[in-house]
Symmetry: C2
Subunit: 389 residues, 2 copies
């Protein structure tokens, strides 16, 4: 196990009806806030009205930043920053999925910074301060409600980049699984793939002796594998929705990565896809992860055997470790398919003519290498895109 520092201070308020507590939570921080949300879904579901009621009851003034899109845009972030500055706003509330939450976090770091907020995403500047953020989650997928991450797309060149800092961990996260009953099947499945990806990015590591976090990862994966199909079968299955929602937080609040080197190559390889083609991040991951696994498993076949046996119940009586490892990857791929997710680029009509460009963007950092488990260079990334064709 490696040395680590870990802090996850987000107050989790979980369960039926919890959105009604939002005003009481917000007023501990501010009486004047920016209220971020996406399209009309929170209005159709009545969530918007319940939030507004609670804010008003607690005497909280708010300005809205609405229309936040999936793969959220830098231009929207800049609008939010401007509103906050002009109105002396000191708290950002987000109601929605990862895109809304990540936008709120980007606004939160942008307001106290005199330069261009994109500097942080380019690694040109370090976050030193942020407004507090509160979250009301409606889509379990990105784990943003308690994570230290925010991912934003710059339309100028379609660069999709992320930041990580404990300063953007939300002050509170309100999580009512009922709010996810209306999620369409495809979005539910994409969310499941994203949650699983957050676990797997941590699971595939070169760090030895990480028994506890290995087992916590495996338990979280099994929970999603068992419950995502139940949620797809019956979208109003509260218990299945609750398992997915809480697993979403556990998968990405950082606890599963404590003391271990993590990977994140698949996320970066996927970000180029969803950055350019505007596909759902989870669908990109269900395509990239099987390809990445097939490309790297020989680096540590035993770890893939453990994954196959403990997560996918592969019987150890297969003839070779390699067969067991491949069977694990196969079962994961089949699981994605069964959930209605694509596992090949061709299935969502992504052609093979921009692999080089995407691999270039992917390796634009100083080191030109991505990934912790296996360090990948540009040619490796092109090979992985090819395996995913």
């Amino acid at each position: 196990m490696e040395n680590f520092t870990f802090v996850s201070p987000t107050k989790i308020i979980f369960g039926r009806g919890t959105e009604e507590t939002v005003g009481g939570e917000v007023k501990k921080y501010s009486k004047k806030i920016l209220f971020c949300y996406g399209g009309g879904s929170i209005k159709r579901s009545g969530l918007y009205d319940r939030i507004v009621k609670s804010l008003k009851e607690n005497g909280i003034e708010f300005i809205e930043l609405s229309g936040i899109k999936p793969n959220p845009r830098l231009s929207t972030v800049k609008v939010g920053i401007k509103i906050c500055r002009e109105n002396n706003i000191s708290f950002v509330l987000a109601a929605g999925g990862g895109s809304v939450l990540d936008t709120a976090k980007a606004v939160a770091v942008g307001v106290p910074y005199s330069g261009d907020v994109w500097d942080f995403y380019l690694g040109k500047a370090e976050v030193k301060a942020a407004l507090p953020v509160g979250a009301i989650l409606t889509i379990p997928a990105t784990g943003s409600e308690a994570s230290n991450s925010s991912v934003i797309t710059n339309e100028d060149g379609w660069f999709k980049k992320g930041i990580n800092t404990d300063l953007i961990r939300p002050a509170f996260a309100i999580m009512n699984p009922e709010l996810t009953f209306t999620l369409p099947p495809y979005q539910t499945a994409c969310g499941a793939a994203d949650i699983m990806a957050h676990v797997m990015e941590r699971y595939f590591t070169n760090t030895q002796h990480v028994d506890l976090t290995d087992r916590l990862c495996e338990g979280t994966l099994k929970t999603i594998i068992n419950n995502a199909p139940l949620a797809l079968e019956n979208p109003k299955n509260y218990d299945a929705r609750a398992e997915m929602m809480w697993a979403n937080t556990i998968a990405h609040n950082g606890v599963l990565g404590t003391g271990r080197e993590t990977d994140w190559a698949s996320h970066k390889i996927e970000h180029e896809l969803s950055g350019i083609y505007d596909i759902a991040h989870g669908a990109g991951l269900s395509i990239i992860f099987p390809a990445w696994m097939k490309y790297v498993y020989k680096h540590n076949t035993k770890r893939f055997v453990q994954f196959a046996v403990r997560v996918w119940d592969v019987d150890l009586s297969f003839d070779s470790e390699e067969e067991i490892a491949l069977e694990g990857i196969k079962r994961m791929t089949e699981f994605f398919k069964k959930m209605g997710l694509p596992v090949k680029l061709s299935e969502i009509n992504i052609p093979d003519d921009r692999f080089e460009e995407m691999a270039d963007k992917c390796t634009s950092s100083d080191t030109k290498l991505i990934g912790g488990f296996v360090k990948l260079k540009k040619s490796d990334i092109i090979n992985i895109y090819k395996l995913a064709k």
Copy 2:
């Protein structure tokens, strides 16, 4: 899953050499502190000198509260409160195991309270404020370094009582597994039993559909089952010590109990034992848990089957669910024995003449019942003591 609120804000600083950061952490809170520790072990190991060096380098003035005993005493807590008040101290640092940490927490709630600190432990008053506490852990057992609990013994009648409040979660916890290399085998084993007990108190629940936390509990138990024997075999096995130390925090920071009714009967039944006979809490638990399980398993045999199969690898081909459940309890008992722990009261010379008195104390609350999984009355508790003879 039940509705829940969960917050675990403790900053974890984990790994080799981390105690050297203590001064830097403390000075974020105060320049004048109470420094609590137990006997001479932190002096012999050199930890005391390293802490003092770091405090001095950061210009932190400290007054010592030393000699804190296992099953820590109310009288010591009162001395600490007096020192803090007389010296205008606003931070409590604890270096040691659960007894030292729980004493520090008790001092922290006692200082700003005008009444008798024991009021909190009797449930006569509610904690409204506490000084911040920092922890340097030397014994993985009670999970106190990130928990919301403090357990204190009142020598006047030997009452052992606990409080739970998020206000006493430490601000930071410094955890260097090397500091546990010198723990004697018996204390290592007692710690393992205590950690397992914290998980099992949460695992045995009447709440349905708690897949994720079930699996996280099972993974934490398996980690201890695999690593405690390694630590006993080679006390300087860093990896095994690290797994135990981190499992200790995960077991008791509250995450494993989220969304589920928990039990705590075994803890209360044990507290009467260690309160009166001054035995190690972990040794009391290794005696009480098997007895409690045998007494209650029929309440939900299926849950004990799951425990047997997933935690103890019992093969499902046993003839009946009851056999499988009992085999799980048997394997746990054998595991305690193998670690050198007692599993019967007679093994540590505790006679059967005070069962009634202890059961009386145990049920002295208004409701006269203890436990969440099965509500136990006085006669049940006497029966459990008898099963543990």
